[in-house]
């Protein structure tokens, strides 16, 4: 871990209040540091706090206490609008259920993050078309999501996550809705992105998926109970297939 950390989490606690009195401690003092270019998988049973972890990592939620540095910025206490900007500029999201916007075409979906950063649709067109080409959908630019298969939709989502050239890509069960073959295609694509230098944080409960990461953070009861590295073999294989 010689390269500098782009994610640094210190003593993060997240407490939810459910129905008045009842309190849930979703995260109970988590310390994690992720260097640039790493491929991390977060695993754990349901209720272990991995979704909360993902929300905080993705700047969708703020911790109750503790600090979170993304790049050089402390984002743990930022106001809502600033968080939106951080998400728009630094984070690429890939969701389990693709979450493409139904009324937009492939290219328009890829343009969405840039649109919210104030980029003209005309100006961002070429770059986004290139990204579509990269995920193998250069000939489907003007299709609607409902005209695409699940695998194709997820590839659009991958292209979309790259549009803003993020510091990190957050993938939440990216293969959960896909059959194993297309799932592997998508994972290979993510692996290739990592090989090209992107930092990837992936949430999964599938060991097969987690095996491809360099490092696995296993969570239990709101804490990271195991933090280990996989033998480095996946990235080369991923390169070959992609």
């Amino acid at each position: 871990m010689k390269s500098k950390s782009i994610i640094r989490i210190e003593e993060i606690v997240k407490r939810y209040v459910l129905g008045g009195e009842h309190e849930v401690l979703a995260l109970n003092g988590v310390d994690v540091s992720i260097p640039e270019g790493e491929y991390v998988a977060i695993m754990g049973p349901s209720g272990s706090g991995k979704s909360t972890m993902l929300n905080i990592l993705g700047c969708l939620d703020r911790p109750t206490s503790g600090r979170y540095f993304l790049g050089e910025q402390d984002v743990s206490t930022m106001p809502d609008d600033d968080l939106s900007e951080v998400r728009g500029k630094r984070i690429g999201f890939i969701f389990q259920s693709y979450n493409l916007i139904a009324q937009l075409t492939v290219i328009e979906n890829i343009q969405v993050p840039l649109f919210y950063q104030g980029q003209n649709l005309k100006d961002s067109y070429d770059r986004c078309a290139e990204l579509a080409e990269l995920v193998g959908l250069g000939d489907r630019l003007h299709h609607r999501p409902n005209q695409l298969s699940g695998g194709q939709q997820q590839r659009v989502a991958v292209a979309r996550s790259l549009a803003n050239d993020p510091l990190m890509i957050l993938a939440d069960e990216p293969t959960g809705n896909l059959d194993s073959k297309t799932g592997i295609e998508v994972l290979n694509m993510i692996g290739k992105l990592n090989a090209d230098g992107k930092t990837i944080v992936l949430v999964t409960h599938d060991n097969m998926v987690a095996e491809r990461a360099h490092r696995v953070l296993h969570m239990k009861d709101g804490k990271v109970d195991r933090d280990f590295r996989n033998p480095p073999r996946e990235s080369s294989e991923a390169k070959k297939v992609a």
């Binding site: 969708l60 939106s84 900007e85 998400r87 104030g118």
Partner: protein, 428 residues
């Protein structure tokens, strides 16, 4: 927000609305009907009052009409019967006094109006025989259709000549050319010198033959000097033993003022002058200009009532829009979550939904304006009612529809923006 980005947002809004064409169409319908009813109701109201106003205007907005009235208490006195001569009404001297005392008076036109039967061959028609001066057409507004009106020589020499209305001519002379024919009125023959048309009696009314033989538009104009010498000052009415005798010098005086500015101040002055010699209230003063003002006031009330009924329908349309937008927000919660995750600020989400509502309402407003302009045309065509589409009714209706879009869009839009991105993303 940049201009190009705003255009993109509008574009996106239209796209989202087109995704549910039927729903968007039905939602727009409320606004379409609202705008359409505002415009067409105001057009019908405007048209109706326009006709009334035109009728009043034809009486002459610079004219003041003074009419002799039979004093009510005197009339009941004569109810007992007997040969009682009633002496009331305006006099020649009144006319002269008004001419000399009231500022701004241009001319004073005296009129004697006597009901008599006019006969030509076998045609006997009850008429109003109006004794007046040659400048009558210039003040009352009369179109000379054929021949001429009375002239100064007729007046001077008490000629037995008359001008008659076209309505009367068509009944009196169904087969002959009326000019230079002699008609008999109260035993005396008068030569017809002209055919005229009163401007303030529309054609339609003049042509209807009413069974009562009313003397509605059957006017015969004779020189006032002739009227005095032939009929005398005392007019007998009825038959023995209930003969009523009235002595009236003038039945009507029309005062023409130099401009409308003089009209309203002149009316009380005229009353002052006349009251000195008429203590029994045997006259009335009619100011067409005041009638016009009243008609305008009535029109305003009419417009407000019609306008507010229509505005309520616009409001209902707005509520319809809000309802649909709230449903849309719920339906698109997931999309909102995704957009928030991808960097959209609350403001962006608000703008997006607000733009959609405004596109709905302004789109509906535009269609409503088109239909609203067509409906009055149809009403005019089918119901033969005059309608006037005023530019301000279009402007009001359209801007209200836009305002409704913003007003009723604001709540759903803020509701959308205030969704928690995490909850929104998880929303099924």
């Amino acid at each position: 927000m940049q201009r190009s980005q705003f255009i993109s947002t509008v574009h996106l809004g239209v796209k989202s609305l087109l995704l549910h064409k039927l729903r968007s169409g039905l939602t727009m319908l409320g606004i379409i009907f609202g705008v359409c009813s505002v415009i067409s109701m105001l057009a019908i109201g405007e048209g109706a009052s326009y006709e009334a106003q035109e009728a009043i205007k034809k009486l002459g907005s610079t004219n003041i009409i003074i009419r002799s009235l039979k004093p009510p208490d005197e009339a009941s006195d004569s109810g007992g019967g007997g040969n009682f001569e009633l002496n009331y009404g305006l006099t020649y001297e009144d006319g002269a006094r008004l001419q000399s005392t009231i500022p701004g008076v241009v001319r004073v036109l005296p009129m004697r109006i006597i009901r008599e039967n006019v006969r030509f061959n076998v045609n006997l028609i009850p008429c109003q025989v109006i004794g007046t001066l040659p400048f009558y057409p210039g003040i009352v507004g009369v179109d000379i259709v054929k021949g001429r009106f009375l002239c100064d020589a007729d007046e001077k020499h008490q000629q037995n000549v008359c001008a008659i209305t076209t309505a009367l001519a068509s009944r009196l002379f169904p087969y002959q050319a009326p000019l230079d024919q002699a008609v008999k009125i109260a035993g005396v023959y008068y030569r017809v010198v002209g055919l005229v048309q009163e401007l303030n009696t529309p054609d339609k009314r003049a042509q209807t033959e009413d069974p009562e033989g009313e003397t509605l538009d059957n006017f015969v104009y004779i020189p006032i000097s002739t009227s005095r010498s032939r009929f005398g000052e005392t007019i007998f009415r009825g038959s023995f033993p209930n003969i009523e005798a009235e002595s009236v010098e003038l039945h009507e005086i029309r005062v023409k003022m130099a401009s409308t500015e003089f009209v309203e101040t002149a009316a009380p002055q005229i009353k002052n002058v006349l009251n000195r010699f008429h203590d029994q209230g045997d006259y009335e003063v009619i100011v067409p200009l005041q009638l016009l003002r009243q008609a305008e006031a009535t029109k305003r009330i009419f417009n407000i009532v019609l306008g507010s009924i229509a505005a309520i329908s616009l409001l209902v349309g707005g509520i319809g829009i809000m309802n649909i937008m709230l449903a849309t927000v719920t339906e698109r919660t997931r999309e909102i979550g995704v957009r928030r995750a991808l960097g959209a600020k609350k403001q962006d989400i608000t703008t997006q939904f607000l733009v959609e509502t405004v596109v709905l309402s302004v789109g509906g407003g535009l269609i409503g304006v088109l239909i609203g302009v067509l409906v009055p045309l149809m009403v005019t065509y089918l119901a033969d009612m005059k309608t006037i589409v005023t530019w301000w009714s279009v402007a009001i209706a359209f801007s209200i529809s836009g305002a409704i879009g913003i007003l009723f869009g604001l709540y759903p839009a803020t509701a959308a923006a205030n969704l928690d991105p995490i909850d929104a993303l998880r929303h099924e």
